[in-house]
């Protein structure tokens, strides 16, 4: 189970990279992609969409299931990783290198765990 030290983590297995003061990047963790299985499609929002902390902003499809991906903060979608639309497998192959969206005008940033806390959290879940 891969966990990067410079990132922060949510309880629903999203990673968060703080880019600037009120701008973050987010994606799925290694734990998440492993639990979801081979991903075949990603439904992403559009630039300019508003997102709400704790609520779904995208979903990922495997062959037999669909899972929501939750926003770690409220704000506005300032960038979308469109590569994932054609190559959703990148989320499996390189979860931390495959960011899903960037959120700007960040508010209500959820409580995030650091790498150690997340590792402990994952161990408990298993």
């Amino acid at each position: 189970m891969n966990i990067l030290r410079n990132l922060r983590y949510t309880k629903s297995h999203e990673w968060v990279e703080i880019l600037e003061d009120s701008k973050i990047r987010t994606g799925l963790t290694d734990f998440a992609q492993h639990a979801l299985g081979s991903l075949v499609f990603v439904n992403l929002p559009e630039e300019g969409d508003e997102v709400t902390a704790g609520e779904s902003y995208a979903d990922v499809e495997s062959v037999k299931a669909v899972s929501d991906v939750n926003a770690p903060a409220s704000g506005v979608v300032s960038a979308v990783n469109e590569e994932l639309l054609d190559a959703p497998e990148k989320l499996n192959e390189d979860p931390y290198g495959s960011w899903m969206i960037e959120i700007s005008e960040v508010s209500d940033l959820e409580e995030l765990m650091d790498a150690d806390e997340y590792e402990a959290f994952c161990r408990e879940e298993e």
Partner: protein, 477 residues
């Protein structure tokens, strides 16, 4: 095996139509198709052999045991097919004058009468073409009912988490929001949760009884009362009617509207995925909202009455899947008063017998008597030995037994839902049980072996991930 397109040879054709006996007309170029029509060019012999080969690569009820839970794969009587092939039905244009289609109208009238009797409903429509279509029609009736009452607040439909996926999808297609309520451990509705969920915004509840675990909701009268007291209506998902048809009536249980799967309970064939028929029945207070037309018997004969100003309109062109309705009527005429409940009781008997046999090694979710189906779980085996419900299903394929439904209902992990139906003999059940048990024992001894299954089928496990990631949805000529 090749596709029709790959067998095509330029210039090959059959001789079907006589030469044109009037002057050939053509249209201005601007109207005409320019791109080539690239359909396969084959002889009739090619076509005949091709589909015979495809038939050998398909498994029907005629090939072997088909215990697909929730689908009621009972034997499809051939007299149904004979009736539906009579030219007096197949050659009838849907827009012929009424006095020339009295036979067809009588079929619809009697189907309504008999199915109304079986379900305890006052009026029916046969316009919906499939189960999901019937569900949608029912929920549309609810919508119209509340509209007519001037009640704009009824925005929610309650759906148990054990429900088939079509239920919540239907509610959304009818403009409602879904309120999911979690079931108890036995898969039954939790009355307290239901009481907490109903309110002034409740348009209705969608419920299957027996539920998707094959258990009869014994509190059903209390359930329907709770919803009615809150001002909502109750919809009966008829997918599991085979357990109780002729024994218990949905109308007596407090349901306001039911949908039926004629292709499940009433023996019309599944056709590889359709056509089915999702007949809908309702109590008289909802009848004015049914799709148009309704068949009425008058002194002069049967008529198609379109005079229903409050109708929801139409959910399909013409009269629904008429020939399917005809097959269902033929079945009811065959079985009759005693045959209908006898089928239901035997369906329940067969399920309980098979469940008893399989319980010798499989983990059965149901406790006590089940209805027409039961659920096994491979949860423990999946954790301990990596043998999943999917593996059991794949191993069954090598034994000419169609697997049970897998991974449904969602509330049971690694579920196998088994529904033998009443048309299977004790010998078939015993043979099947032996196969199920043998597969289980082999898998426990050698889990690796089962992952390779199936090995005797036309193809092995297809790569579904690749199919979804890089969809190839047509042949490229």
């Amino acid at each position: 095996m090749q596709l029709l397109f790959e067998k095509s040879v330029k210039g090959r054709k059959s001789s079907i139509l006589p030469p044109c006996d009037v002057e050939q007309v053509t249209l201005p170029g601007s109207c005409l198709r320019e791109q080539e029509l690239r359909l396969p060019e084959l002889s009739e012999n090619d076509v005949s052999r091709h589909y015979s080969a495809l038939e050998r690569r398909t498994h029907g009820v005629n090939n072997g045991f088909y215990p697909l839970g929730s689908c009621t794969m009972k034997y499809n009587p051939r007299i149904n097919e004979a009736a539906a092939s009579m030219p007096g039905y197949t050659e009838i244009h849907p827009l012929q004058p009424e006095h020339t289609v009295q036979g067809c109208l009588e079929v619809l009238y009697l189907a309504e009468k008999y199915l109304g009797e079986i379900t305890g409903m006052d009026a029916m429509t046969f316009q919906p073409a499939a189960g999901a279509h019937g569900e949608l029609t029912c929920i549309m009736l609810f919508k119209r009912y509340h509209e007519a009452r001037g009640d704009q607040n009824r925005t929610k439909i309650i759906v148990p988490d054990s429900a088939h996926g079509t239920n919540p999808a239907t509610a959304v297609m009818a403009g409602f929001k879904v309120v999911n309520i979690t079931s108890g451990a036995d898969g039954c509705l939790d009355l307290d949760k239901l009481r907490a969920a109903v309110g002034e915004d409740t348009a209705g509840l969608m419920l299957t009884n027996p539920n998707t675990l094959g258990i009869f909701e014994k509190d059903i009268l209390e359930i329907t009362k709770i919803v009615h007291d809150a001002g909502g209506l109750v919809f009966y998902d008829g997918a599991n009617l085979n357990a109780i048809m002729g024994v218990i009536r949905p109308g007596d249980m407090g349901f306001d509207c039911v949908h039926l799967n004629l292709h499940k309970t009433f023996s019309t064939p599944h056709g590889g995925g359709g056509p089915g028929s999702g007949a809908v029945g309702c109590k008289s207070f909802l009848a004015p909202y049914l799709p148009k037309p309704q068949i009425v018997k008058t002194a002069e004969g049967y008529i198609e009455n379109y005079n229903y100003p409050e109708s929801i309109g139409k959910v399909k062109a013409f009269n629904g899947n008429f020939l399917v309705t005809l097959k269902a009527l033929t079945y009811i005429v065959s079985l009759g008063r005693k045959g209908i409940p006898a089928s239901a009781a035997n369906a329940v008997l067969n399920a309980n017998y098979l469940m008893k046999r399989l319980s010798s090694c499989y983990q059965v979710v149901n406790t006590g008597i089940c209805m027409h189906e039961f659920v096994l779980t491979m949860e423990q085996e999946a954790k301990e030995k990596h043998v999943t419900a999917n593996d059991i299903a794949k191993a069954l394929l090598d034994n000419n037994i169609h697997p049970p439904t897998v991974y449904f209902p969602l509330i049971v992990p690694e579920a196998l839902m088994v529904e033998p139906t009443e048309t299977e003999s004790k010998e078939t059940l015993d043979e099947a049980a032996d196969v199920f048990i043998s597969i289980y024992n082999q898998a426990m001894e050698n889990p690796e072996g089962i992952h390779k299954k199936p090995e005797k089928t036309a193809v092995g496990r297809p790569d579904e991930v690749a199919a979804a990631r890089n969809p190839v949805l047509r042949y490229q000529i």
